[in-house]
Symmetry: C2
Subunit: 331 residues, 2 copies
């Protein structure tokens, strides 16, 4: 490359490509260094087809999306959030909901783009998103909890995301509430996410319907029809059984987050994901239970906050933050 070309290129502004691979659809977009999402799109993951055809489509669609930006910007790197993604090896191993055994993401992308790449799971990406662009800006020690179908978590300590010895740290959803408790998809019993997640909330409502006499309009809803949104709406309308389910969920979440604080002494815990949108219905009981169960020296110190990533899809921003963070450490 001639130095004239280099000068020409460096006059362009850097953006990164952030992509979030889900079981059904994959979102991707271009994020600048200030956390603005300049363009975004989504495509079906087609999770039953081989990984190489997925990455070909992702690259083609990303190039398409970049078309109108190419004059002004260049792509400095790619960040990907995906289930069971390993930061250290840039591989995806036995992802749930995807028919891929093992994917060498670096090799897949190298066919199309020879630029820096970082991958991790969606909750870790969310944590970096909050650190660079959201509610955790300026914090060195915090935890992000994503309350969706399951419970994901990303932990930052000393200003660094914790990947652990094998790249899979931050599985707070699989800490144990009760070793004889609810069966979890992971094969264990009593994992936190079987109580505190949209799925967990639905299980709690079903338990309350069976085990109590509390009246509720939710009693007429079939088990298969019950959704988190339905429980939220009934709780908002004052349904006491639905409110009790949120209360129970927050109580267990606060208890286990007190354990997380005992490990890490974070400045804040950020609740994000679909269920966090229930607002005070989930924040209030969680906060009460957290304070009640904290080791005394940590009381009244730890903030419980909502996400601040609102100007774009949070998953794209998280994946973008992942690669921006990587680039800042690997100049």
């Amino acid at each position: 490359m001639s130095s004239a070309t280099q000068r020409g290129k460096s006059a362009k502004k850097n953006v990164v490509l952030g992509a979030d691979i889900g079981g059904t659809s994959t979102k991707f977009g271009y994020v600048d260094s200030e956390g603005n999402c300049l363009a975004s799109a989504s495509m079906p993951t087609e999770a039953s087809r081989p990984a190489d055809s997925f990455f070909r489509r992702l690259c083609e669609n990303s190039v398409d999306l970049f078309h109108d930006m190419a004059e002004e910007y260049k792509i400095a790197g790619i960040g990907i959030g995906a289930p069971n993604a390993n930061y250290y090896t840039a591989t995806i191993e036995n992802p749930p909901n995807l028919a891929w055994d093992f994917v060498d993401v670096r090799a897949e992308l190298d066919r199309y783009f020879n630029i820096p790449l970082a991958i991790t799971n969606d909750a870790n990406a969310a944590a970096l998103g909050e650190m660079l662009f959201g509610a955790a800006q300026g914090m060195n020690d915090f935890i992000v909890i994503t309350l969706g179908t399951g419970l994901g978590s990303g932990i930052v300590a000393n200003g660094e995301l914790i990947y652990g010895a094998d790249g899979f740290a931050g599985e707070i959803g699989h800490t144990i509430v009760d070793p004889n408790g609810r069966e979890c998809g992971c094969g264990k019993r009593g994992c936190l996410e079987t109580y505190c997640s949209v799925t967990g909330l639905c299980r709690t409502v079903q338990e309350l319907i069976r085990n109590t006499t509390e009246s509720s309009t939710l009693r007429s809803v079939g088990d298969d029809e019950l959704t988190g949104k339905m429980i939220f709406e009934h709780a908002q309308q004052g349904d006491s059984l639905a409110r009790r389910a949120f209360e129970s969920c927050g109580r267990i979440l606060g208890l286990k987050l007190a354990d997380s604080v005992a490990h890490l002494s974070p400045e804040a815990i950020i609740l994000t994901g679909g269920m966090a949108n229930a607002g005070e219905l989930i924040f209030n009981p969680t906060r009460r239970s957290l304070e009640e169960h904290l080791f005394p020296i940590f009381r009244n110190k730890v903030k419980l906050l909502p996400s601040k990533l609102t100007n774009c899809d949070t998953a794209i921003l998280g994946a973008g933050a992942l690669i921006w963070n990587y680039l800042s450490k690997n100049k």
Copy 2:
């Protein structure tokens, strides 16, 4: 200082002073950069007298101990392990078992030595001791658990000790086994250290004596006379109630350490302190329970190891490692 003096000084080898302040006695000694303890001594803490008289005596005794080394060595820094010691502020706040409300350790020591200082609690110091000189050499992610009167812990992630937002991270002893469980000295119920510590082991034996019909020679020992050493000796001699107490302790410890692994994905967990000397009596049930309760991706990965700090008092080595670590980052 003239450059001639500087040259003269730099010809001497560096050592650090490591001190561990306990409720009854304080141990101190000089540690070289390879973890050799070149001289050590101890003195009564006299915890009921004011802090300034303690630090005067510590400095006088340390200078005395240094006398024969002064020709060859110079003191590069001081590391102190103490209860409720805050790394960030170099202060000790309301230490249990000591009649000091608040001690500005930096100010106390500045009267005598104007050299680098780092302080933290004994379990954090133990973690750095293992990292620099012991079983965790070369590891970036590990946890040290000290099983003594209580249960202390020090957590290292990304090669750095985790102090957290307020300097008090690493309180795994106060994670909650059962929110309706045993009363803890901290004011909560069901903390891990009420089950897994020498004190916890004694409580378990007393519970087994009251709640079971299992025969045991420990039944003739009064509650006030029962010690961890006694339980260990009876267990070694095959007393089944004593063995059951170790089994129960290890089972609970393994369950809660599985939560720690879910957070941090450490390469190893190191058990140290008096109770870890019970060897396989405590390691075996802990290892079994840990593996049973681990999230599947972590199984058969995490080593459960004894301490390797044996060539000197581990507390002095830990305090020495603390200041060596500090010096390496603040050149």
